[in-house]
């Protein structure tokens, strides 16, 4: 095994790189079944169709709301330079040019809020070109809110219990001293 191949394998093993993984694919029937094509050609009916305009350094709309299970079609259009669209949690990562654009179709199989970001260096502020997809019902966000509330309450309750026990212990000691 030569040095370069060894390094590649090592990095892949450590999780720094992936070997031979396509960014856009259709994993299985239960998955998001992603389809990507050039331009805005209509390929049948979907539940939601949205045109997303990308320009340095934001998307319009920057928030996309869909419901879980909906078949979503995004027509991605750049207004200035080449941009990208990479969606967290979904195997979607495409580049698109100002004149042609690209269409991405997928099924919103996972509920929650997912960031999408530009994946093609488009200028200095490129790393921060971010939008979000809300797949409702977004139980993940609300469960973290209620989870944090419960944890906070739990810590205060635990402290309360310990303080009460400690006070009872001390008063018990005092009583036995008196006796």
């Amino acid at each position: 095994m030569n040095r370069r191949r060894f390094l590649r394998l090592l990095l892949a093993t450590l999780g720094f790189t992936q070997l031979g993984v396509e960014s856009s694919s259709a994993p299985d029937e239960s998955g998001p079944n992603v389809k990507v094509w050039e331009g805005k050609e209509d390929k049948g009916e979907v539940d939601k169709e949205i045109t997303v305009q990308a320009s340095q350094f934001s998307y319009d709309p920057s928030v996309i709301e869909v419901r879980k299970g909906e078949r979503v079609r995004l027509y991605l259009k750049a207004t200035d330079v080449i941009h990208g669209f990479s969606l967290d949690g979904y195997p979607i990562n495409v580049d698109f040019t100002p004149y042609v654009g690209k269409t991405v179709e997928f099924t919103a199989t996972k509920e929650g809020t997912f960031r999408f970001r530009c994946s093609h260096a488009c200028g200095y502020f490129h790393p921060f070109m971010i939008g979000k997809l809300e797949v409702n019902p977004d139980t993940r966000f609300y469960s973290t809110l209620s989870g944090s509330f419960l944890v906070g309450l739990g810590v205060v309750g635990w402290l309360w219990k310990k303080v009460t026990e400690s006070n009872e212990g001390e008063s018990g000691k005092n009583d036995s001293k008196r006796e």
Partner: protein
């Protein structure tokens, strides 16, 4: 190897007694060597026996023969500095000469992705100020000042101008952090600006350390790490968050240090340098350590804040009384009650507020905020209006909203504590309770780092393969493409980290409350109210990261 001196047991050091006062370790100006024998409580009184047992475990790195030998060697820090300086020179070179695309330039990826994440996720929470031990930026100034790199010299080059007493605090570090934060959207995205900042961070120590002296705890003016101690913006945040770390320099037996001072009142080797008390220059040269470059009295160390882990005190201490200890007492420094200051409290506000603003501007989804952050466009057009909004957001959040909300909830929590809590003034409780924001602030920064670490770490092997972005293929990784990792998982991790930060902050708030109020019940009532504020902050960050 060190001879163990009457090693202080965990139980002894954990005796809770808020009337005891510890010695100020910050600098000579705040120090009182006579109090060196006192220790301050650090141990939770109400944890389970298993955790209590775990808290007693303490490892002294100096007890490991090889490590002890390395730490005592004069070559230890200079060798690290030389290696680091070579690496950072490469970073500066790529910043100036490489392509201006951040994702293809080593300087941006190594500094703002790898180093920043490592600093906040691993180095500071686990090892405290370990970065300050390795940081090469002030090393040039130090070498020039000492006229030596490896061996100890007696000469010190300095103009000898006294550092102003009113700046013997971290307000300048707070201001410096603001300076960097104002420029962050530009610094983080332009390799050449990152390189300029790094060069400034090398020049400033030269300008400050060779000009100013500060008073050590024996009352003498000495040259040293003026920049690191009073100005460096990174040092300020490391100092604050190193309070959670279980690693740091301490002394084995404080009594020994106190008696040493009594026997030899004019000379503390750990403060003034080995051999400082002798007229024999040959003997002085043989001794291997400098006085603490951070103007700290090691015998009074109770917190990690201002100890740069330079290991000089290990080399100087004639009693072998120093210890480089690792234990499981995370957050213990936060409970050292008599060291709390307003400048540090504001550091906590600035860091927490800064994390919120960075998250909203850089990681948020609002197009308007992107314009605000990108106040110098790609065509180098400066937009003063957007810059003004950015400044207002940053200053407003960190200097008005954060301290204002904290003040409101401190006042309410003091009311909730009942009459018995009134023995401490509102200002004192305001400062004390600000330290409860330290765990939350650190964990918010860790969550912030997750956002870009998982998404952008695949750039790191790419820039190592081609540091300047010139098309090199040093490691044969040219075909690597950008691949975000665990994008479905990291928001969950962020939520977990934020919730853990909330739990720890509530706990710290209670423990601090126990020091402020007469009874635990009063402290608990106070914490109950303050927890509303902490929960609100957690919800804000959850909204920014998971919402």
């Amino acid at each position: 190897m060190k001879v163990s001196q009457a090693k202080m047991t965990a139980n002894e050091s954990n005796i809770s007694d808020k009337n005891k006062t510890g010695v100020e370790e910050v600098s000579g100006n705040r120090s009182d060597l006579e109090n060196a024998n006192n220790s301050v409580s650090v141990s939770p009184r109400i944890l389970s026996p298993v955790i209590d047992r775990l808290l007693e475990v303490e490892i002294d790195l100096l007890d490991i023969p090889l490590v002890g030998k390395i730490l005592q060697s004069r070559y230890f820090q200079p060798v690290i500095h030389i290696a680091m300086l070579a690496g950072w020179s490469m970073v500066i070179a790529t910043g100036f000469l490489g392509v201006p695309i951040g994702s293809s330039n080593l300087s941006i990826m190594l500094v703002w992705i790898a180093w920043w994440a490592a600093l906040l996720i691993l180095l500071t929470p686990l090892l405290g100020r370990i970065w300050c031990l390795a940081c090469p930026l002030p090393s040039l100034a130090e070498w020039i000042s000492r006229s030596s790199i490896m061996e100890k010299s007696q000469s010190r080059t300095s103009l000898g101008i006294k550092w102003p007493e009113w700046l013997d605090n971290i307000w300048l570090q707070n201001a410096a952090f603001f300076g960097v934060a104002l420029l962050s959207p530009i610094v983080l995205t332009r390799p050449s600006v990152t390189a300029v900042v790094l060069v400034i961070m090398i020049i400033l120590p030269l300008g400050l350390d060779l000009v100013f002296t500060s008073r050590d705890s024996t009352g003498n003016e000495r040259s040293g790490r003026i920049f690191c101690r009073y100005v460096c913006p990174v040092s300020g945040l490391i100092g604050l968050y190193s309070m959670v770390a279980p690693t740091g320099m301490r002394v084995r037996d404080k009594e020994l240090c106190g008696n040493h001072k009594k026997n030899n009142p004019t000379c503390k080797e750990c403060v003034a340098g080995a051999g400082a008390g002798t007229d024999n220059s040959a003997e002085a040269a043989r001794n291997s350590g400098y006085g603490c470059p951070w103007f700290v009295y090691p015998g009074g160390l109770e917190r990690n804040n201002y100890c740069g882990l330079c290991t000089e005190c290990i080399k100087t201490c004639p009693l072998d009384n120093t210890t480089f200890r690792i234990n499981f007492r995370w957050f213990a420094d936060l409970f050292v009650s008599d060291k709390r200051e307003l400048d540090e409290a504001f550091k906590a506000f600035i860091m927490l507020g800064g994390a919120a603003i960075y998250s909203a501007v850089m990681l948020g989804w609002w197009p308007g905020l992107k314009d605000v952050g990108n106040y110098i466009t790609d065509l180098r057009v400066f937009n003063p209006g957007q810059f003004g909004i950015y400044i207002s957001l940053l200053f407003g959040t960190t200097l008005i909203v954060m301290p204002g909300s904290h003040l409101l909830f401190t006042w309410l929590s003091r009311l909730a504590s009942g009459e018995e809590g009134r023995e401490k003034s509102l200002k004192e409780i305001f400062v004390d309770q600000a330290y409860a924001l330290v765990p939350m602030g650190l964990f918010a920064w860790i969550a912030f780092c997750f956002s870009f670490l998982f998404v952008n770490s695949s750039y790191i092997p790419k820039v190592l393969n081609d540091p300047f972005g010139w098309g090199w293929n040093l490691l044969g990784l040219k075909e690597l493409s950008w691949t975000p990792y665990f994008t479905g998982l990291y928001p969950v991790l962020q939520a977990g980290v934020l919730i853990a930060g909330l739990a720890l902050s509530i706990y710290v708030s209670f423990r601090i409350g126990e020091q402020s109020y007469r009874s635990s019940k009063a402290a608990l009532r106070s914490t109950g109210v303050y927890s509303i504020f902490l929960t609100g902050l957690t919800w804000l960050f959850l909204f920014l990261y998971v919402g």
